[in-house]
């Protein structure tokens, strides 16, 4: 071993000259993305939890109101959106917590790559395993709530766009509360007010689709919110993670 370390260090002296060529940005991003997806698939039961929660909440409403299909189809856009939003919110607490506990979060921020990029990789992995399945499953629940068939496509696409925004904005809250022992309720308190624009535009767009109104501007607005959060949220979350590790 001692000899091995010596030869490695000797090679290292040569690598000093190429320090400008740092370990690749994409290399770090994809490695983190793959690692996080792999971790989520190792815990398959947890993977299904947001979906089951989503379906359960949607089931509660007809039970609490009335099995009246006109009533249900009227509230379906808002109901599906609120349920999906809560499902995303519940999954957020675990976004950084495991990494915080076992120290890999600390190591992630110590990597030479910019922290925001690596945090973005983690957020993308989170979206791929929560927001995407929720969006794909939503038409099924839409049928159960007698949502008109022609609006299913819009329901799915607003959920695809919107849940990505929810993951991004939620990551800031998860990063701020990751160092706190009971961060869960506090996380909801911080994040839910910030979620209202996404909810309003998401559910509103589906409602307009049911009525057959033109939708392009509203979808564009949702895209704009996604673009803004894509630009700002990973950096804010990275800054919040740094302070959570300090405190």
């Amino acid at each position: 071993m001692v000899r091995g370390a010596c030869t490695l260090t000797a090679e290292r002296a040569d690598t000093d000259r190429v320090l400008d060529a740092l370990p690749g940005l994409w290399q770090g991003f994809s490695a983190t993305l793959i690692r996080d997806c792999r971790l989520r698939f190792r815990r398959r039961s947890e993977l299904a939890n947001p979906l089951i929660f989503f379906a359960l909440v949607v089931t509660l409403f007809p039970l609490g109101l009335a099995p009246d299909s006109t009533l249900l189809s009227g509230i379906a856009p808002g109901l599906l959106w609120v349920a999906a939003l809560l499902a995303v919110l519940l999954s957020l607490d675990g976004l950084f917590r495991d990494d915080f506990d076992d120290g890999t979060l600390e190591q992630l921020l110590l990597a030479p790559q910019p922290a925001g990029v690596l945090v973005l990789a983690k957020i993308v992995a989170h979206w791929l395993t929560t927001g995407l399945p929720l969006a794909l499953a939503s038409p099924l629940l839409g049928i159960m709530l007698s949502l008109p068939g022609h609006s299913m496509g819009i329901l799915m696409s607003t959920l695809l766009l919107g849940s990505a925004t929810l993951s991004l904005v939620g990551a800031i809250g998860a990063a701020l509360t990751v160092g706190l022992r009971r961060g869960g309720v506090l996380l909801s308190l911080l994040i839910l007010p910030l979620y209202t624009p996404v909810l309003i535009f998401g559910a509103g767009t589906v409602r307009l689709a049911v009525e057959g109104a033109p939708l392009a501007p509203w979808l564009a607005l949702m895209g704009a919110m996604l673009a803004l959060s894509l630009l700002a949220a990973p950096w804010a979350a990275a800054a919040a993670l740094k302070l959570s590790l300090d405190g």
């Binding site: 800031i172 701020l176 706190l180 506090l186 007010p193 509103g204």
Partner: protein, 249 residues
């Protein structure tokens, strides 16, 4: 050298200077509010549609304006604190948060009272009321986050980040709520579309707004001064202050 000046010099300087301003802030603020309320409640003419009930505007509007300005001030302080690590900015932001929440609550409460004679109900999902409600939740979230950290520095920086995220989000929340409101309700009565006010009505309102600002500033400064003492109880100048009272400085 700079960090030392920032950390230790500033609070002392602020404490000394603000001690001189504070009586004026209190005095002028109280004077303006007295004049404004007397004028608004007793001498301004009643509204031709709403009668005397419109007079609640003299509390409602100043509270709402100060509530929103307070958030802008907190955001500015948070930025200064995060970029230049000036702790005084954090103390001011922390001192202002409960006041902002109280002002927001005051605006909501007076709005609800005003709603009874004008809309016939305590609460409508009016765009302004709803966005004020969300603002109140954001204030409460910031205060809760600050309190949740065991380390004061950690809580301060977390609150600062959340405040900055909130200030980016507030306009988006505001416009989305306006859009949502028009989509759902159509034209209802809106406070925004009042007929233009005669000068005898808006001049007292202006005085009240100024008075609220000054009182807000006075309370914030006083709370910041308390916080300075609380954080540096062992600093030499604080001990001198405790011994000699005001003459110590």
């Amino acid at each position: 050298m700079w960090p030392i000046i920032h950390k230790l010099g500033s609070p002392k300087w602020f404490y000394t200077m603000s001690g001189r301003w504070l009586p004026f802030l209190w005095g002028i603020g109280a004077l303006l509010i007295t004049v404004g309320s007397l004028w608004g409640l007793a001498f301004a003419p009643p509204d031709y549609q709403q009668g005397d009930s419109f007079r609640i505007i003299y509390v409602h509007v100043p509270a709402a304006i100060v509530a929103q300005s307070c958030f802008a001030m907190m955001a500015l302080c948070s930025l200064i604190f995060l970029v230049w690590r000036i702790k005084l900015a954090d103390m001011a932001a922390g001192a202002a948060a409960p006041l902002g929440a109280a002002m927001t609550f005051g605006a909501l409460f007076s709005g609800a009272i005003w709603g009874v004679p004008t809309w016939g109900t305590w609460w409508v999902w009016d765009a302004r009321l709803t966005s004020m409600l969300l603002l109140l939740f954001i204030y409460l979230g910031i205060m809760a986050l600050r309190g949740a950290f065991a380390s004061r520095d950690g809580g301060a920086r977390a609150a600062a980040i959340l405040t900055l995220v909130g200030v980016i989000n507030l306009p988006i929340i505001k416009y989305s709520v306006v859009w949502w409101n028009t989509l759902h309700q159509g034209a209802t009565f809106s406070i925004t579309e009042k007929p233009a006010m005669p000068m005898s009505m808006w001049l007292p309102l202006l005085i009240m707004v100024l008075g609220f600002y000054l009182l807000f500033a006075a309370v914030t400064v006083a709370r910041t001064r308390n916080e300075i003492i609380r954080r540096q109880p062992s600093a030499r100048w604080v001990r001198a202050l405790a011994k000699g009272g005001r003459h110590g400085l």
